[in-house]
Symmetry: C2
Subunit: 283 residues, 2 copies
């Protein structure tokens, strides 16, 4: 801790800033990639600011992304009909999940901020990262009956997508051939991050880094570092509080309160209205 | 062929209906699951109608979902900096992709219709199926410069998502806690299916099958079979023709032509307007 305070002081940051734990879940097969550079920049910056950083380098770990029978050590509750969700919930309660899942769960429990660093593959995370979600987000641990969204078990923690694309920014506009990035991000940010309780930070998107100069990429890395210097002070994206849902949909009262508004409350809960052009991109 | 015509005759279907090839990419670890039943119903129905059906049962095949170095047999173009997209494109051209990818490519080439059968995990496909996409959709084979969307290499083929959810239908409405299913499906249907050229069929969605009676599930299976009887006559979902994009966005002329319309042309290309409440669900 003393070392961290000194580091903070030396790097010119506010003295005595609270130390946080950061987990970076990183998926790229090539360390020399721009994703690799972004991951290392995050580690350097956050450590220099006095935070503790752990990296789950999924390729280097040979992380197994396939959820299945071997995620449970020992016998199943029902050997005759394998129900992954129920079996892993039970295994979590009994401490019989496979070790590689337990290790990631401990990292997640410690983390105040989780950064997912990846190249966008087919408009979502690469399979190896999808498997991290599929396997580590065990029922009971990451979500449960009535424990969803703003009441999810991971509430109080922050999470952020940091990714690169092949296509340019314009291809992800509301007239772009790949479609509005807001729409692309809803299932990821609402479904993979908010669902379990995270406060979702605006995504860090680097469009088509392969098509810019070395100088531009250096500038992007610097900008990324500067953003991370203040990441614990940044406001998060807006979602509807879970208390407004009754039987899995917005209460009549809530909907009534929205009636005069131009935009739907979120892109997903759009109430058949226009949606905010920045809802998934800016707080 | 003669056998197929007889089969068609015996099953009471229109005599002489054209035989098609169907690929079912199936991802569920438990054969007794409702997903398993849906897969088998599709095989039975389509075969009875005289079509040829292949199933890629990803769990049974122990399909490896992680794209990486071993997807290329022999040396790389550049051993010092691994670029997956370029290396696999080159390996495809040279016939040096790993055998498990080649086999799936041949199935895809033969197929007139591809059905993806899966449980919705975290608002998208399970990791093992995401890996099938990540690895089989090799640049050059499935997409390329100017060969995208309606001009994609897989044009002329049909594809469909058939999946189950944990939550009820209402949770996926425009006031639902999980958000509008149209929004959830955009990245999958535009990004994973349309992107490579498929005509995208309306999704077959079974909401919360674990929470209905055996009789209901039997009815659902029957309805699924009936839909498949006419699947090659069904209209597909509407997307913007690729010729309307200039430099990755809709041409000014196209946008002008849309100016008086209430809805944006698609959910992704929404032009800041309202989007159709059924755009990703119905033709």
């Amino acid at each position: 801790m003393a070392k961290n305070l000194i580091q903070s002081f030396e790097s010119g940051r506010v003295y005595g800033k609270q130390q946080k734990n950061v987990l970076i879940v990183y998926a790229h097969p090539e360390p020399k990639s721009f994703n690799g550079a972004l991951m290392r920049k995050a580690v350097e910056t956050l450590e220099a600011d006095g935070h503790r950083v752990e990296v789950s380098d999924l390729y280097a770990m040979h992380f197994d992304p396939v959820c299945g029978r071997t995620d449970i050590v020992g016998s199943l509750r029902d050997e005759s009909f394998f129900k992954y969700q129920m079996e892993t919930k039970s295994a979590w309660e009994n401490g019989t999940l496979s070790d590689d899942i337990k290790v990631e769960m401990e990292k997640l429990k410690r983390a105040d901020l989780v950064i997912f660093q990846f190249p966008l593959y087919w408009f979502t995370v690469p399979a190896i990262m999808k498997g991290w979600i599929d396997r580590v987000y065990v029922m009971g641990f990451a979500y449960g009956k009535g424990k969803l969204y703003s009441d999810g078990p991971l509430k109080g923690k922050r999470a952020m997508l940091s990714f690169t694309t092949g296509g340019p920014n314009i291809a992800y506009g509301d007239a772009g051939m790949n479609g509005d990035m807001n729409v692309v991000l809803w299932p990821l940010q609402n479904g993979m991050l908010r669902f379990v309780g995270f406060d979702v930070m605006a995504p860090q998107i680097h469009y088509a880094p392969a098509h810019v100069s070395d100088d531009d990429r250096k500038q992007w890395l610097d900008d990324w570092g500067k953003r991370l210097n203040n990441i614990f002070e940044e406001p998060s994206l807006k979602f509807v509080d879970f208390s407004n849902f009754t039987n899995t949909k917005l209460s009549d009262k809530y909907v009534e309160g929205e009636s005069s508004k131009k935009y739907g409350p979120t892109l997903g809960q759009n109430l058949g209205k226009l949606f905010s052009p920045t809802g998934m991109l800016k707080p």
